[in-house]
Subunit: 286 residues, 4 copies
Amino acid sequence: MKKLGFLGLGIMGGGMAANLVKAGFDVTVWNRTTAKMEELVSLGARGASSPREVVAGCDVTFAMLADPRASEEVCFGPGGVLEAMGEGRGYVDMSTVDGDTSRRIAAAVAAKGGRFLEAPVSGSRQPAREGTLVIMAAGDRSLYDEAMPALERMGKLVLYLGEVGKAAAMKLVVNMIMGGMMAVFCEGLSLGKRAGLRIDDILAVLDNGAMANPMFRLKGPMIQEGRFPVAFPLKHMQKDLRLALLLGDLFHQPLVSAAAANETFKRARDLGLGDEDFSAVFRAVS
Amino acid sequence: MKKLGFLGLGIMGGGMAANLVKAGFDVTVWNRTTAKMEELVSLGARGASSPREVVAGCDVTFAMLADPRASEEVCFGPGGVLEAMGEGRGYVDMSTVDGDTSRRIAAAVAAKGGRFLEAPVSGSRQPAREGTLVIMAAGDRSLYDEAMPALERMGKLVLYLGEVGKAAAMKLVVNMIMGGMMAVFCEGLSLGKRAGLRIDDILAVLDNGAMANPMFRLKGPMIQEGRFPVAFPLKHMQKDLRLALLLGDLFHQPLVSAAAANETFKRARDLGLGDEDFSAVFRAVS
Amino acid sequence: MKKLGFLGLGIMGGGMAANLVKAGFDVTVWNRTTAKMEELVSLGARGASSPREVVAGCDVTFAMLADPRASEEVCFGPGGVLEAMGEGRGYVDMSTVDGDTSRRIAAAVAAKGGRFLEAPVSGSRQPAREGTLVIMAAGDRSLYDEAMPALERMGKLVLYLGEVGKAAAMKLVVNMIMGGMMAVFCEGLSLGKRAGLRIDDILAVLDNGAMANPMFRLKGPMIQEGRFPVAFPLKHMQKDLRLALLLGDLFHQPLVSAAAANETFKRARDLGLGDEDFSAVFRAVS
Amino acid sequence: MKKLGFLGLGIMGGGMAANLVKAGFDVTVWNRTTAKMEELVSLGARGASSPREVVAGCDVTFAMLADPRASEEVCFGPGGVLEAMGEGRGYVDMSTVDGDTSRRIAAAVAAKGGRFLEAPVSGSRQPAREGTLVIMAAGDRSLYDEAMPALERMGKLVLYLGEVGKAAAMKLVVNMIMGGMMAVFCEGLSLGKRAGLRIDDILAVLDNGAMANPMFRLKGPMIQEGRFPVAFPLKHMQKDLRLALLLGDLFHQPLVSAAAANETFKRARDLGLGDEDFSAVFRAVS
């Protein structure tokens, strides 16, 4: 792999691109606001004035953008990825995935003769900086293999899941399990409290047993204190539960527990908690 | 604390009593089958011929018995704990808890002028041997404080939860969360599989994120292989869900997710999976 | 059938006994407060001073008492049914059924050589007066056949369900369906309202289709007006749902919908609606 | 109202149009296959060769077509409704409703200066023939008032629900309640059977109480016999439950019972029962 591009140098992208530069790759970067490009340039990256310029000069271009709308604009907009896309070039969109957007971009890239990979990540700022993200890739297999040396610098776990859309499905499955866990966790905390137990005792028992996990460890004390600083908004969790249930409908997969969790998250939205952290679902069951 | 007694030297009790002996306590032991006593005696414990003899010679006697029925017999039966119970003596039953049995024993001990603590543990053979159990104690507070030097040798986490019965409630709360997690975990794995994902990819993503926990790590690969070696029988999990729901009924605590999980475990029992491991609930959702 | 007895002349029993007298049976009656006996005597019944006296003088004695406690006292108390029970005599308790009480009375009657039938009814004051109750009988078959001429005067539908306890099971099954219908009915009304429909339009459509039923017709307008005059207390409905779910547990019968309804009724109790009519569950879903 | 048109003379439309003719209205009819037109013409209707011809000659045209696709074709296709639609003309589509199709037709009719009403019915062949349908109308209010003399001849209950789309919402609400009722009905029948009750006894008790309704009366005996002749396909019921749940999502309306019913119907589809009658959901709970 000779030359890499990187579009989007925000909280996540900045750290990810830096890891590529530090690993010795020849990296060209672009960001909407140029200030953020300077740090990368000072590390050894080249700066470019548009996504098109990056794609035109690179073999494989990565993108890490804020949301599906940003992904669309950077791809389809003026000065965008498609204007320079062509035979042999690769485009890896690592932004938060959305099946429809992803398939639209994939089709457009393919129509220009290029190759596409959706590669959303799990993990936030610190893992991005430390190169310990979980990367779920789906799409062109040859591009995946070719991009692997770079992907390995950004993630501690890199998976190839199959055709475009599979990464979106993975996100829904994982978030569905997360929503179900959070709902029954909150029910347990509320039941225990009413039965005269102390929440921190329950948390201590959980954290010393087979169910011990970072989510309970992080959210438990916040729930106890009634603080719900937003990491993942409750309305987004409910949306993912709805989408996971629709995915289940497609396959006639009974999802009794996930459906129950969805109703609890809907109750929470009905209580006006949609913009709080998803752990605020506690208030809908207590 | 001068003298300690220990009743029941099975898989769990053997290791726990050994830890007390190794810590230098003066320990008198008893077991239904005498063979198991020899190992403890060789470590420095005294052997006794009945629970009564142990209690008569000790300040605080611990018990770790197979089930509530064994707890009752050792307490109320001929040559049992009650025959020697009296003013100033303490009895700590660490067997798997059951609210009613526990309260009956507590009342009988108190009637004799003694003090009682229910102190069920979470953790199995190895933590028992290594002294890293989680101990949930409830009952007489002064006995709890007095027994602490011994409890600390058996557990890495020792909690005092309040009056007798609270430890049973804690067990139900924790197992209810466990059942709910397992149900939605299995739904997610089945949904993912139908959507074309590989189960080991889902497990890898979960194990590298905020939900990573020993239970998913242990049970996930077994579920994938369709093997369900019994660690915790499915019918016991369903029973605990039922009891947790009845506890919720008492406090009018809505438990939509736990109730959904209970129905799924009932379906599994209806499919004849009651004696399999509780992770076999996967077969009821897939 | 020569001589009939009737114990309990309240709102229900008064009308039922009157129907027997009007049909030409030789009827001896007893009631705790004697005032209520006079009306029956004026119709042609004999009055007695105790349940014992009634049973002593009759072939078959019916009882319609306020609750399980009254059933127990009239049977086991001083001057009660058991004191005169003996070979060849029959006792038919038509009070609201409770499996345990029923089985205790059945055993006591059998021990005296008598025969027993539990025969709870569905229907209230007016059907009692008009002889159009639904009578669900369980217990001694020969007594059922012998009592039929009288039962037919009190009910428009008389069923023999099998051994003692079956009538209690029938009540739970029927009330479980009622609770489930009410829960989803209320969800539909609330959804429709939020979607901009008028509740009375929804009620009109329902009442003109395949789901038209007296319960929706009666409760619908009350729900619309937010009035919940107590006919069947919400807490009793929730108790019956809990008992039906426990019955389901016994047979590993998955009851996903009934369990969901139970949680909704629990939420209603948690909102303080336990003493309102069970249709007040609307407030827990709207 | 001077002149009425009627498009679609199938099982439903034939009887409905006949009722208009018999009531003395001046009616022009059209049907894809001309054979069916003859009966109406023999009753006194005029025949036309296309929807356009009907609309061109009538003040208000009614349509009763097989499905949304037929509705679209008759409206938008060659020789269709739109070709003759214009200022002052009214179009009332009484076919089974689908929010999107309905809104597309409404917009097209309005763009031509015409007025539109969606007016789906509940009831089947016999009520259509007898003029006892339930008609749920939504859309242009002045057209509703103008069409009332004709609507009253076709339905025993005619409701105006508001803007276009409201009739679709009503259908979803009503079918959601129907699905929930059927699910808990089947759970009750299965529970009763396992508890040793006879299904026909349960049906008799239900049919003599406050829940008595035509649906239980019709489907109960079929469920008992294990016969599920298709009146309303299970897969359509599950689709309506899914759509009702999505409608609930829009308003954050918790629908715990409907969600549970949906999962049960999904299980039934997973068992291969999608093309059976929706009462076959019994097999998913028994």
